[in-house]
């Protein structure tokens, strides 16, 4: 195998990476541009960020997105973790079928999920708003939590729980003292993932939110269709950074080894 990568390979890859990242970087850079219409650089400013604070719909959108996000994340993480535990630690009839079924929300186009839920809510005469949005978000987040937690569970040594039981710990004690400490990074990563998906969702939310409630993405969508001014760049930048941080943390959690310094320190303090 050659030591150095051929130049054409580096060139093509460079172009692709630029393609993936430049648009976003440009977007972020221009959120600081001191010019309302032009894409010419006219100086550095924070005023578009200040403008965001002046727009009530953005603040309302943010508030609603956070509320929905936290609620949906809590429920989805709980339900998803229980599902993962069942799939990962128990043998029962229909397990394969259920595993397959759990992948459906991930592959189903958001359009389909969105309108089918709209149909349901209208049929049930549920007013569209916070409740319906949250229900929808939980529905599509559960599967993501399951995938992450299940992966973590499969990576765990099954014998650990058996060892705990032979040492006198019953199912409850084994779960609290052995399974959970090993599992919680996966659960937390799943939660972060669920929150990110919920926070960023547009398509499904647009169908089930009705005219009254707008989450942040819906507000941004409205701005993307109409506005030209860079405050939309500003809000986009904020969303990007928040999401990037959350995903980075989730990635680190999934990769880390149990038995890290923090865990040990907590252990010895106990």
């Amino acid at each position: 195998m050659n030591r150095r990568a051929p130049r054409w390979l580096l060139a093509v890859s460079g172009v692709v990476y630029a393609f993936l990242h430049l648009p976003l970087l440009i977007l972020m850079v221009f959120s600081f541009n001191d010019s309302k219409f032009s894409v010419e650089w006219q100086g550095f400013t924070f005023r578009w960020y200040h403008r965001l604070l002046e727009r009530p719909e953005i603040l309302h959108g943010l508030k609603l997105s956070l509320l929905v996000g936290l609620t949906a994340t809590l429920i989805a993480t709980l339900l998803g973790t229980l599902l993962a535990l069942a799939l990962g630690r128990h043998r029962f009839a229909g397990r394969r079928a259920i595993e397959g079924f759990l992948y459906l929300p991930i592959v189903t186009p958001e359009i389909v999920v969105g309108i089918s839920l709209l149909i349901l809510f209208v049929l049930l005469r549920l007013p569209l708003g916070f409740v319906t949005i949250t229900i929808a978000h939980v529905a599509f987040c559960i599967s993501f939590v399951v995938v992450v937690v299940l992966a973590r569970l499969h990576g765990m040594d099954q014998h650990l729980e058996e060892a705990a039981m032979t040492l006198g710990a019953d199912e409850m004690a084994t779960f609290w003292r052995v399974t959970l400490p090993q599992l919680w990074p996966g659960i937390f990563a799943g939660a972060l993932l669920a929150f990110t998906m919920s926070f960023d969702d547009f398509v499904i939310t647009s169908f089930v939110s009705g005219s009254g409630s707008s989450t942040l993405p819906i507000v941004v969508y409205g701005m993307a269709r109409k506005t030209v001014e860079p405050s939309i760049n500003a809000i986009s930048t904020i969303i990007l950074l928040v999401t990037a941080v959350l995903i980075y943390v989730a990635d680190r959690l999934v990769r880390r080894e149990a038995g890290s310094r923090e865990v040990r320190a907590r252990d010895e303090a106990a």
């Binding site: 050659n2 692709v16 977007l27 043998r91 389909v112 993932l193």
Partner: protein
């Protein structure tokens, strides 16, 4: 004693299956009621005649599905299919080299992977808007073209099929890179060394050893791009301006302006079927597990 009540409960639970179903219950309930049932209702709607306000009236009809034989709608189906295929091909051509680069042994691997994964997880809406910012008449690209003197008037890039294609590739490229990388990473380098010893030159080694062995990744990546591309809505909507309709836009239209829920349901169900067929093909080729590695 309080310690034993839950032991007694667990003994009852120890019966094979009962414990499992208690854990499955809440989650499955939610998914069945708020995912499966709505889709089934939607399916039912697609066979019912349209009501006055755009909803449904009781009855059974195949008219909504029959409408898809209308050239107008066949056009939409065809466009959706062709664009998804085109997007997949472009993603393969651009993504394979990148995956190949990342798969090479080196310390940069994790960083390079992270750089692919990060945009993939950020808001799709924001990423699409970034494209708008670049491509619109008053956007950055036109601004530079004008200033460099390459054009005299702004080029209409936005709201053209080209813009949608760029947007689709931009959105789904990471879905191609990751599975291909996974496949290449597992490649045993001793196979290539053996080929070299047997006299194969670099290009022959690629075409006859690397590429065939990375096929599972190529297939996985292709389906992971093709399937969501079929159901695309945001990209053709924002970058196509409503003029380049894919099925996703058709569906959305029926639930807003056109007010024809049963027809929209039929269109929606067709997308669903296309997606499921593609998934089944993927599973058949892959063997057992669908691509669960999203992080």
């Amino acid at each position: 004693m309080s310690a034993s009540w839950h032991r007694r409960v667990f003994r009852w639970f120890s019966h094979p299956g009962i414990q499992a179903w208690t854990l499955l219950g809440p989650g499955m309930f939610w998914l069945i009621v708020f995912f499966l049932v709505p889709i089934l209702i939607m399916l039912a709607y697609s066979f019912m005649p349209r009501g006055i306000y755009g909803g449904v009236d009781p009855g059974f009809t195949l008219e909504h599905y029959a409408r898809f034989f209308d050239p107008l709608y066949l056009d939409v189906l065809q466009r959706t299919f062709l664009w998804s295929v085109a997007c997949t091909v472009v993603c393969l051509l651009l993504g394979y080299p990148v995956a190949y680069l990342i798969a090479r042994p080196g310390r940069w691997r994790h960083l390079l992977l992270l750089l692919v994964v990060l945009p993939f997880w950020t808001s799709f809406l924001v990423r699409t808007f970034a494209m708008i910012f670049l491509l619109r008449d008053t956007g950055l690209i036109n601004d530079w073209l004008l200033r460099l003197g390459l054009t005299r008037e702004p080029l209409t890039i936005l709201y053209t099929p080209a813009a949608v294609m760029v947007g689709l590739v931009y959105g789904f490229l990471p879905f191609m890179i990751l599975p291909v990388y996974a496949s290449l990473e597992k490649l045993d380098s001793s196979l290539l060394e053996a080929a070299e010893v047997l006299g194969a030159r670099p290009s022959a080694r690629f075409w006859r050893v690397t590429l065939p062995l990375s096929m599972p990744g190529v297939i996985a990546g292709s389906l992971l791009v093709f399937i969501p591309a079929l159901g695309s809505f945001l990209t053709p909507d924002l970058l196509g301006g409503g003029k380049q309709m894919m099925i996703g836009n058709l569906v959305q239209n029926q639930f807003s302006a056109a007010r024809n829920w049963p027809f929209g349901s039929a269109a929606s169900f067709i997308v669903m079927v296309l997606v499921l067929v593609a998934v089944l093909i993927y599973l058949r080729i892959r063997g057992r597990e669908p691509a669960g590695a999203l992080l």
